[in-house]
């Protein structure tokens, strides 16, 4: 049990972001999160929820209530392995996995995420990896990940590395597509665009607004 760090559980309205919910809801079918009845099926289905700081159900509640900082800063969204078991069993068809993604992207964009937590680091590395060469060089990725988070872990993994090496399943060679320039031009266009809002969503927001 962690020692008591004098944290304050109460949240004042002034600390909440009322726009947060609609921001997340603006992904395709995101509006469904508003019909959540807090039944907890998602958390129950989720194989990882036991290790999350907030259960998936709580994340939805927090999104609705505008607990932006808490959601974006949480480990939950990053721990999600996107196995989609929550999404397929949700009685209200809430695409929770996609909502987790939306939260992750927002967290990255706004720089609010557990900094030394390996998962966002991996994501970033993977991203750079692919942006550069169009493919992911697994060997290098793992290497970078450990260097960035926990170099010591690297040694623990050497035996595994060797085993893989011997079986020709591991290399530090840089994988790449041929026409990288083409790829770069393509991705550059999308630099600015973060989240595409669906038409019906725009309509919905307009109605809510008025």
């Amino acid at each position: 049990m962690e020692e008591w760090r004098g944290w304050r559980k109460i949240r004042y309205e002034s600390e909440l972001d009322p726009a947060f919910a609609s921001e997340i809801a603006s992904i395709p079918q995101g509006e469904k999160l508003f019909s959540c009845i807090q039944c907890g099926t998602c958390s129950g289905m989720c194989p990882i929820s036991p290790y999350m700081d907030y259960t998936p159900r709580q994340i939805i509640a927090m999104i609705r209530a505008g607990f932006k900082g808490d959601v974006l800063g949480s480990y939950t969204t990053w721990l999600c392995a996107s196995c989609y078991s929550c999404a397929v069993e949700c009685p209200k068809d809430i695409k929770l996995t996609d909502i987790m993604y939306a939260a992750k992207r927002l967290a990255i964009r706004e720089g609010i995420y557990p900094k030394r937590f390996p998962i966002p680091v991996l994501a970033n590395e993977f991203y750079k990896n692919v942006e550069g060469s169009g493919r992911n060089s697994e060997g290098r990725l793992i290497l970078r990940l450990f260097l960035k988070t926990n170099p010591f872990k690297l040694f623990k993994q050497t035996s595994l590395g060797l085993k893989l090496l011997m079986r020709g399943r591991f290399s530090l060679k840089r994988e790449s597509i041929k026409r990288t320039d083409e790829l770069h031009r393509m991705l550059k266009v999308l630099e600015k665009v973060h989240m595409v809002k669906s038409k019906d969503e725009l309509a919905r927001m307009k109605e809510v607004a008025s």
């Binding site: 395709p28 992750k104 597509i177 266009v189």
Partner: protein
């Protein structure tokens, strides 16, 4: 029907055995298949957590290339063995089809690369192709060394049946069971067929990832399987390569071979272990001896 093959990054490194075995099986069954040239990362999971739109664009490039390379046929069947890629590409395909606004943005990006995607690509998993295009008869007929007596735990993992149950039942997938049964294997009944193996967590937050894989193997072993059959490079990696770690963490010897379903098919078709990349397995695949040859590989199910 001819197939385009999308390997994805893993099948070129940790999952090489998957590629080798699948291609040899396709060859043995005379299924024409050709690798997509200059394919790029599908933009799955990790990438999607940074930019969904770019992820879609990455997939779209692959689609565009596929349409280019297979101009002849108006519909391209893109065979995607890796579960993550399968879902990533499938998701992109759907979003591009269902959300005009996304399609438009992505089209714009493709144009920059002088590419165009007109929506004629189908994402197919080898399980789907083998069961629904080729069919059990053809497979059964080709069996040389039936897997008689081999008790297999079919493990589908999450991403080939969820969220889009395209070719199999989301809750009780059967495709792999059917195929391996047809090869004479005995598939065991177990409830964790589609429970997550931990995905990339084994690499990032090991204590969690390890636990998830351990739960699967523990249950599979308890139900007395000789081998766990997988359909995803990451699942295979997690379940196989961390068994020594599990011993350390949970003091339990697992020692269960974890093979790709394509490798098992290959064995049944009597292909050489080299062509199936069996030599790449950590725990060698032991066949129950002696393997009785049975006509057509069919075997009364017990």
């Amino acid at each position: 029907m001819n197939y385009a093959y999308y390997p994805g990054c893993s099948l070129k490194s940790t999952g090489r055995a998957y590629e080798e075995s699948m291609l040899s099986v396709f060859e043995a069954l005379e299924i024409p298949i050709e690798e997509l040239s200059d394919w790029n990362c599908c933009g799955a999971t990790a990438y999607m957590s940074i930019s969904e739109l770019k992820a879609f664009a990455l997939s779209a490039r692959n689609f565009a290339l596929a349409e280019q390379q297979f101009k002849g046929s108006n519909d391209v069947n893109l065979v995607v063995p890796c579960a993550a890629c399968y879902l990533g590409l499938n998701k992109a395909r759907r979003y591009l089809a269902e959300h005009l606004e996304i399609k438009e943005t992505v089209d714009g990006a493709l144009k920059q690369a002088g590419l165009h995607y007109s929506g004629h690509v189908h994402i197919r998993h080898p399980l789907d192709v083998l069961l629904n295009d080729i069919g059990l008869e053809k497979i059964t007929a080709a069996v040389k060394k039936p897997l008689t007596g081999l008790r297999v735990a079919c493990y589908y993992g999450c991403q080939i049946v969820r969220p889009y149950a395209e070719f199999d039942n989301q809750h009780e997938p059967q495709s792999m069971d059917k195929i391996l049964t047809a090869l004479g294997a005995e598939v065991i009944e177990w409830p964790l067929k589609t429970r997550c193996c931990g995905g990339s967590l084994t690499g990032t937050v090991q204590e969690v990832g390890l636990r998830l894989s351990y739960i699967l193997l523990k249950e599979a072993k308890k139900r007395g399987c000789d081998v766990v059959a997988t359909a995803c490079p990451l699942c295979q990696f997690n379940l196989e390569c961390y068994q020594s770690e599990m011993l350390k963490s949970y003091g339990e010897v697992i020692n269960v071979p974890v093979a790709y379903f394509t490798q098992l098919i290959g064995v049944g078709l009597g292909l050489s272990s080299k062509n199936l990349g069996l030599n790449r397995l950590f725990t060698p695949l032991k066949m129950p001896h002696p393997v009785k040859a049975v006509q057509g590989g069919q075997r009364v199910h017990s």
